[in-house]
Amino acid sequence: MRKGWIWFLALALGLAWAQGQQPIKIGALFILSGNFAGYGKSGSQGAQLAVEEINARGGILGRPLQLIVVDDQGNPEVGVREARRLILQEKVNFLFGVDSSSVSLAVAPLTDEYKIPLVVTHAATPALTEQCRPYVFRTSNNARMDAWAAAALAATLPVKRWANIGPDYEFGRVSWQDFITRLKQLRPDVEVVSEQWPRFGSTDYASFITALMRARPEGVFSTLWAGDMVIFARQAKAFGFFNQVRYFVNPVGAALEVLAPLGKETPEGLLVSTRYWFLYPNTERNRSFVEAYRKRYNEYPSYNAQEAYAGIHMLALAIQKARSTQAEAVRRAFEADGGLVYEAPEGRKRMRPEDHQVFEGLVWGYTKHSPNYPFAILDRMRITPATDTVYPTQCKR
């Protein structure tokens, strides 16, 4: 009988302890199948690494983080279905990740419906944060910041004749509009000589390349990304495109998902950027992150990996500060004191309280081959300070 009491006590204590140990659940949406699976893979790896780090030091509020990664296929309908399932069945506290802009826009309304915050680490349409939703946060930079940084750099180049080749959907169209509008403000003397809009996911760029070359642009702006950029670069090189065009500017061209498969075939001297470059900045913080990531996954961290890693840490900071996982408390924590600040491997990230968009310095450089890496790296780096990418917002808090 006495023994029974002790067992009962142990059980009760155990239950109480388990309650405190209930994991904080984060439901991550990434593209894990199809042409962009490489991006989703690195994103989920970065997020997983951050979760492991946080749990190794005891979790947040005494609770471990649990990451549940699902495949949204880059399809808005699938994204909404999976997000709803994560909220209703998996009982997640937060939604996270999202590669595709259209998926992010489709999922965003669920944050109001269920009071579940969404932290976006990849989808880059400016429209997402311009909707001013209370529980949507973006901890990575967006396409407008990239386009403005590109325009600031382009304005310093000895180029008057510009052309564009971009994927024919919202991201490509909006980026080009942002870029050329901003560039014309900075340099009224520039002119546009050609615009080419291949289908997103095209595999044949030959006619576009010859048409572009015929217009004799001095500079070409492009937002081709992923496999599109890999295929375009190989085909354009064969046509001698990069010998004729002096400056090829692509804000998403230095993604490792592009440079690694191109390997030694990458043309040199492309002016490209990426939301994070693993060799910049040369700080202890960044070096130890790259080291930890390589040890865990046996590859270099791509921008999507670092952004997801930083996104988990920023969310954890906000939860810590809020001392709660409630949407409203977390929102206040993100907004308080002029916006949450996090020292990421890539440098300081500061969230603008009004629209929940993070601003950060952006790194650009010219591609160059090095015997130390199997792919091209960035040379003659140009850093666009965060202040150069700050555009006005219509959101108010």
């Binding site: 042409n35 615009e195 809009w197 006619s207």
Partner: protein, 293 residues
């Protein structure tokens, strides 16, 4: 100068058409002879690209032997797939074909992701084509000419096979009346295995030949099969020459369309398809369905 440019545009359009033809012709051939709508057709195209990558170990020097190995492997794989999966459902309703071939597409996508990872795989241009040709003073990658040649040769051999050999005559006869062919003592199941393997081999050859220009990903199969369907819908499902005509039309429409309406590049193939569906729903060179009385 301008004449040279239009020639260049013609060649790039034809090169694109060549890739579309190799991709689509097998789809049309298989449907024409066997009545099978092969949703997994793009997957064999993808498999061709990955197999070349594997056989050449990612080295440009391994291109030629790799290409021959891909062709041989695709014939074997095609024959096996037909024997194991397709044959049991010939006499079932069409939904079974669609479900089965769609399942094959999903399985093959996961298989290549499992074997090769989710990233992009490609092959440098083979050494024989590493320097461009100069056409009227403009550099033109010689590999594109090889592609046009490869597709042209495939079309010629296919024509010779279908119209100049007894076996080809049987294949053509199978499109008309299978029962009659069987009654004449011809081993139709074996013939079907051969046709299916040939269609698969053409797709794999197309995928492999494109690897030096493009990049293989697990998702390319879905894109490819949609492209193939656009081509055969325009040309006429079941017609080998329709596939050729559809491919050439799309290739040239893109190459010259973007000169006049660069904003609309994406619209051309779909607009053409819509037009064909309105005016000739069975495709330009397809046969209108027989009126049953």
């Amino acid at each position: 100068m301008d004449l040279g440019f239009y020639l260049l545009q013609l060649l790039t359009g034809l090169a694109y058409a060549s890739t579309l033809f190799l991709l689509a012709v097998g789809l049309s051939l298989i449907f024409g002879a066997m009545g099978i709508v092969n949703f997994a057709h793009g997957s064999f195209y993808m498999l061709g690209a990955y197999l070349l990558y594997a056989f050449s170990r990612g080295q440009a020097e391994g291109f030629w032997t790799g290409l021959i190995l891909v062709l041989a492997a695709a014939l074997v794989i095609g024959a096996l797939v037909e024997r194991l999966f397709i044959r049991p459902i010939y006499r079932r309703p069409e939904e079974y074909q669609i479900l089965l071939t769609y399942a094959l597409l999903l399985i093959l996508e996961d298989l290549v992701r499992f074997l090769f990872g989710a990233g992009y795989r490609s092959l440098p241009t083979p050494p024989a084509f590493s320097s461009p040709l100069f056409l009227l003073g403009t550099p033109f990658p010689s590999y594109y000419l090889f592609l046009v040649g490869l597709a042209g040769l495939s079309a010629l051999l296919l024509w010779a096979f279908l119209y100049r050999t007894r076996l080809g005559a049987w294949v053509r006869a199978a499109t008309q009346d299978r029962e009659m062919l069987e009654a004449l003592g011809i081993n139709v199941p074996l013939l079907y295995t051969g046709v299916f393997a040939m269609g698969i081999a053409l797709a794999a050859l197309g995928g492999a030949a494109l690897l030096p220009l493009q990049a293989a990903t697990p998702g390319m199969a879905v894109d490819a099969v949609i492209q193939a369907f656009i081509v055969v819908v325009i040309g006429g499902l079941g017609s080998v020459w329709g596939a050729l005509l559809g491919a050439v039309l799309i290739g040239l429409l893109q190459a010259f369309g973007i000169l006049f309406l660069p904003e609309m590049a994406m619209v051309f193939p779909f607009a053409l398809m819509a037009l064909v569906l309105l005016l000739r729903p069975w495709g330009l060179l397809g046969r209108p369905p027989a009126v049953r009385t």
